[in-house]
Symmetry: C2
Subunit: 356 residues, 2 copies
């Protein structure tokens, strides 16, 4: 514990959305302060953080002042410009480490890293041109899916190729951005493991949750997930292998496809993850506190599941259902303080708890 | 739900200590904003609230602006000057109501109110002079305890009278303040009920907790408390009777002595209560969220206990034990963000959870 931040220390968080907000709330429980950095004012985290800097990621003076005011830097999203990270790292440690960010910022690098670790991923190939795409389709075949290598989230920057004739249109949809072709995986369902690794290398994973997506956006996560004991062990072991290979410090989300042939890694997210929100009402220590503990150099908490939970995202106008949800005795409601309910926007979530 | 505050509305909280802090955190979970009013800067709640006004309780302009900026006013302590409440109430509803404050601000009014409700309290008499005290000691006898009628907390403003000869010294200790003499109650242990009442009159109580005090300060609360089924029912029913009699809206703490002859009401606190902190890790909806729901006009949540909990206060330098507590897998740590650990100061608490 010699490197642990003391209560009263400040954690800098890049990004002021709902993940930053819930990280700030978790830090506050532990007596730690938070300082948010976000280019846009009035975000969800700003309302609950000690301090917020509203500035662009290319504002060197603001980044310097921010770094000087905090004890450690963490982030709630992975697409942070490298130049900003360089400036911050000159002052304070960044946790999770740069390596994790570099790997997860680029789908090609990520897939290669996972494959090199001996894990199973969908067949993939880099696509920078029509010729690349034709060659990749020759190997991987259709149906398959073309994705931008960077900056994709919630199904954005993706185009399905159901047959070879759709190749040109899919490539156009990438708008010239470097892309990756991924083969379809024939899976029965998707699960994710929320893993954590402490500064001293200790690893702890929450129970895998089972995810249901709609239109590329997570709808529900259910714990426990439908997994055999062997699959559950596999899931946790492979998450641990990824965390260790990256010298990771913090919480990571690992999305997995469950197939008859075993688990296939879909993608990793070097941060707290929407599919881990159930831990707020299923465990004594949730994913947000676990992340704060890790980046603060504290020991990890006990993330054992005390209750079964179904987490449901409230997207867009669904958040207007709050009066009905508030009357449900099994429901723990979490709203993000967003003023405007735009379509597709994550406004909150509800954890429905099944107690024993 | 027609009178319910919508997410995004602002709850004004008088007092910026740890109770205000935990209320603000609970409000944030529900997408509600908080505005703290406190004469001192840098308090625990300020770090997590959307907004803080630092001003005295006799600053009419600041009170007006505060009231205009919020949708409802609540408080984390009961000794708010009447003049401030008058100003605030001209703009916005105050919940819990003025009546609850008036009753609990004065021990004499409180005891009389409880007795008039048909509840058992310790024998008591008003003491404004040496003659009053002599007469009271004649009826109530010694040992007994002389207390100031107002502004006492954590054992302050109290003097024990073990025999009649100590009367003069006890009266001196009151420093001329109006006082009340209370007879000793021969109790086996103390419990408290955290009750809640919604705007529509619905009442819900958390499981009674058993309290251990040391030097007038709460040390631990254990749930479940040692109570027979009949005692448990009595405790909850009498809390409900108090809440209804006051047209109460919000959370209240009711401290009870357990005696062979039945339950004796010690005192009531018209706010969230230290002996209810266990609910943060024992229930899906804790006392802080329950209070926020009530004052916001929302339906009460389900406060069923899913786990046994022992809550321990961390007082003064005890908070330095955080590194050890952080390694305890049963411990949920809550620190209040106070910079200086003065003796007797509540710095945080730990909920040790026993899962099934």
């Amino acid at each position: 514990m010699t490197e642990a931040l003391r209560p009263g220390a400040t954690i800098g968080i890049l990004g002021g959305g709902q993940l930053g907000r819930m990280l700030a709330l978790a830090a506050a429980r532990l007596g730690l302060k938070t300082h948010i950095y976000d280019p846009a004012p009035g975000g969800p985290a700003e309302q609950v953080a000690d301090r917020t800097t509203v500035a662009a990621y290319d504002d060197a003076a603001a980044l310097d002042a921010f770094a000087a005011s905090v004890d450690v830097v963490t982030y709630e999203f992975e697409n942070i410009p490298t130049s900003a990270l360089d400036l911050l790292e000159a002052h304070r440690p960044i946790r999770p480490t740069r390596k994790a960010l570099a790997v997860s910022q680029d789908r090609m690098t990520e897939k290669t890293f996972l494959q090199d670790l001996g894990l199973t991923v969908a067949p993939f190939a880099a696509v920078d041109s029509a010729a690349d795409l034709e060659a990749a389709l020759g190997t991987i075949g259709a149906p398959s899916i073309l994705k931008t290598r960077r900056f994709g989230y919630d199904g954005k920057g993706q185009a399905r190729i159901m047959e070879a004739g759709e190749a040109a249109a899919a490539l156009d949809a990438m708008a010239g951005a470097p892309a990756i072709l991924e083969g379809f995986v024939d899976f029965t369902h998707e699960v994710s493991v929320i893993g954590a690794r402490a500064l001293d290398g200790a690893v702890a994973c929450f129970d895998p949750g089972e995810n249901l997506h709609e239109g590329g956006i997570l709808r529900t996560t259910t714990v426990p997930a439908r997994l055999s004991t062997a699959q559950r062990t596999d899931a946790v072991l492979l998450a641990g292998r990824i965390l260790n290979a990256l010298d990771y410090v913090g919480v990571m989300g690992v999305e997995l496809f469950v197939t008859p042939g075993g688990l296939v890694v879909n993608e990793i997210a070097p941060r707290v993850h929407n599919s881990g929100h159930w831990t707020q009402n299923g465990c004594v220590v949730d994913q947000f506190e676990q992340h704060i503990r890790a980046v603060a150099g504290w020991p990890l908490g006990d993330g054992s599941r005390h209750s079964d939970v179904v987490m449901e995202n409230l997207i867009g106008a669904e958040a207007d259902r709050w009066p009905e949800i508030a009357t449900d005795p099994t429901a723990a409601l979490h709203l993000y303080g967003k003023a405007e309910a735009r379509p597709g926007r994550k406004m909150g979530h509800v954890n429905r708890v099944v107690t024993g």
